[in-house]
Structure formats: structure tokens, C-alpha cells
Amino acid sequence: MPFRKFSMVLLLAAAVMLLLPPAWAAAQVNIGIKTILASNDQQYEDPQLKGIIDELQTVFRFTAYRLLKQDHLSLGTGETGNVNLPGGRILSVTPTGNRGDRTQMALQITKQNRQIFETHIELLKRGTITVGGPRHANGYLLLNITSK
């Protein structure tokens, strides 16, 4: 039957497409960073953080989450991108390689040229890590970092 043969050809094409590595996945690492202020001085859930707050609330017990800023970095391996954070802090992100479906990267937070925190992680592609909590204003900073 012609329909069946055509369907088989289409299925074969689909299988080939799935097996070929996507071309754009090789070079650049796209990273999204949301800087969130979490506090207990009020009741507020920033609508731009829908979906994130539910997940954070499984660990934290803050009553207010506010998105302060959003940044995007597109970095090659070994290239460092910087994001200014409140309180004179800077977040530096450096992809260092790949391992399977994880991107290896170094995250560093500095303040007035002094290193506060550094960690080396392997982040799942399309995965998110949240780093907190430097003190700021009446609450704490949460950095929600996603590999896109």
C-alpha cells in the first residue's frame, strides 16, 4: 500500500534526524541568570518567577520572591562572562567543557575584588542550579542559573 510505504520512509527520515547531533549544540553555551531577592518582610510572588517559586518553596520558606534582574550570556569554552549583582558583587561564569549531556562550568562570586564563593559544577543541558544566599536589603539573593 502506497500510504504505508510513504509512512515508512517518513519514519526512517525521523530516525536519521534524531540520531544526528544538532549542529548548534557544539560551540556556544547559552546561560540565563535570574537574580532574585527572597525575603520575609512581605507577601509577594513576582509573576515573572512563576514556576520557579513552587520549586524553591520545597526547600525555602520565604514569603516574598522578587525578580531583580535577568541576564543572558552566550559563552564559548574557556570564555568568562560577568554579571553585576546587587551589593557590589559580580557573578562570573566560565564554561570549561562538556561531559555527556552536562556542561562543566565554574561559578564565582566576588565582592570588591575579593572572592566570596567559587564552585565547579556540571550542569545538565536545560538544567538549573540555584545559588544563594548573600545578604541584600531585607533578604537574600538567589541566583537561578539555567543552561539553555
Binding site: 525575603s39 520545597t58 525555602f60 520558606r61
Partner: protein, 191 residues
């Protein structure tokens, strides 16, 4: 939907999806409490809840109505939990242990203005000691203790579920209490 038990059972036997949902809604917490009390593993307990209800739905035709529905669910849950204990199912789990390791999956109140380190620390100590003491009890003693203390079942009900004598329930329960008492002696005033 507030079906009485005979109606619920009849609907379950007909394969009514709403009845299945009602069954889970009514008893999922009880089932979890029993599974967790026996296995002391939150993830496995969730699996046991899921599998337990599936099993209940698959075997509802065998439920004759001589005991209460909840007793029947108790039996299924206890058997599944004890089977898990016996099999000692090992799964590869990615597990980050926090520096201050906690065993019961409790969320810590971070960043609150009323954070009282001392109180939280002591509470966690007692909890960990209790969890450890529970784990060290033999499976049968822990099962009986859980059924008594979380579900408030009578000795006769427990004996029926586990297919043992009432006298055995009494002695194993007392044994569990003695062991727990001994393990938590130093925290006595704080409990």
C-alpha cells in the same frame, strides 16, 4: 463525593475511575504513613503508595467486605513494605549529602528572622536519634509499633493484618517501646 464504603467498593469493582480517585484521596496519607514508618525511606514510600493502590484496584474483585476497606489497604501496604525490606532493593540514586546531613527529608526554615539555631539543632538531633532507633528495630516490631502509634489500631486488628497472635502483638510492641526508650534516654527531658 461522599460515598459510603459499600457504595465505594461496588463502584471500584465496576472499574469506576472516580471511585479509584476517591479511594486514593481518602487513604493516600494513611498508606504513606505506614509505608514510611516501616521502610523509613521517603522515596520508596512514595513508590509503595503508588503500587499499593494499583494492586488494590487490580484485586478489588477479591475484596469480600468481611473487613473494612482500610484494613485491607493496611494489609496490602504492610506486605509491600515488608517485601521491600526483605528484597533490600538497591537503586542507583544520585544523592548529594548536605554537609549537615539530614535523614528525614525535612525542609529547613532558612533565612527566617526567628531562626533559632539551638532549638533547630536539638530538634534535629532528637529526630535523627529517633529515626536511627526506629531503623534498628526488627521489622516485625517496627511494623507493629507503626500500626499501633500512627493508626491507633487495636491488638486484634494488628494481629489480623499480620496474621499473628494477640499475645505476640503485645510482647513485640512492648519490646519496641523498651528499645526506643533506651535509645532516647538522654533526650528524655527535651521530648
Amino acid at each position: 463525593m461522599a460515598w459510603d464504603e459499600p457504595t465505594l467498593v461496588a463502584l471500584l469493582k465496576q472499574g469506576h475511575e472516580g471511585a479509584f480517585e476517591e479511594l486514593m484521596q481518602r487513604y493516600r496519607q494513611k498508606v504513606y504513613l505506614i509505608a514510611y514508618g516501616i521502610t523509613l525511606d521517603p522515596e520508596e514510600s512514595r513508590d509503595i503508595v503508588q503500587e499499593g493502590f494499583l494492586k488494590a484496584f487490580q484485586n478489588i474483585s477479591r475484596f469480600e467486605g468481611r473487613a473494612r476497606l482500610v484494613t485491607w489497604l493496611h494489609r496490602i501496604t504492610v506486605n509491600q513494605s515488608l517485601n521491600w525490606q526483605r528484597r533490600w532493593k538497591r537503586r542507583l540514586r544520585w544523592h548529594h549529602r548536605p554537609i549537615e546531613s539530614e535523614e528525614d527529608g525535612e525542609s529547613i526554615q532558612l533565612g527566617t528572622d526567628e531562626y533559632q539555631a539551638e532549638v533547630l539543632h536539638q530538634r534535629r538531633e532528637i529526630d535523627q536519634a529517633y529515626h536511627k532507633a526506629l531503623k534498628q528495630l526488627p521489622d516485625d516490631a517496627r511494623t507493629i509499633y507503626v500500626l499501633k502509634e500512627t493508626e491507633g489500631l487495636s491488638y486484634a486488628e494488628i494481629a489480623r493484618i499480620l496474621n499473628i497472635k494477640k499475645g505476640t502483638v503485645s510482647s513485640r510492641l512492648f519490646y519496641a517501646r523498651q528499645r526506643l526508650q533506651k535509645a532516647l534516654k538522654s533526650y528524655r527531658e527535651s521530648i
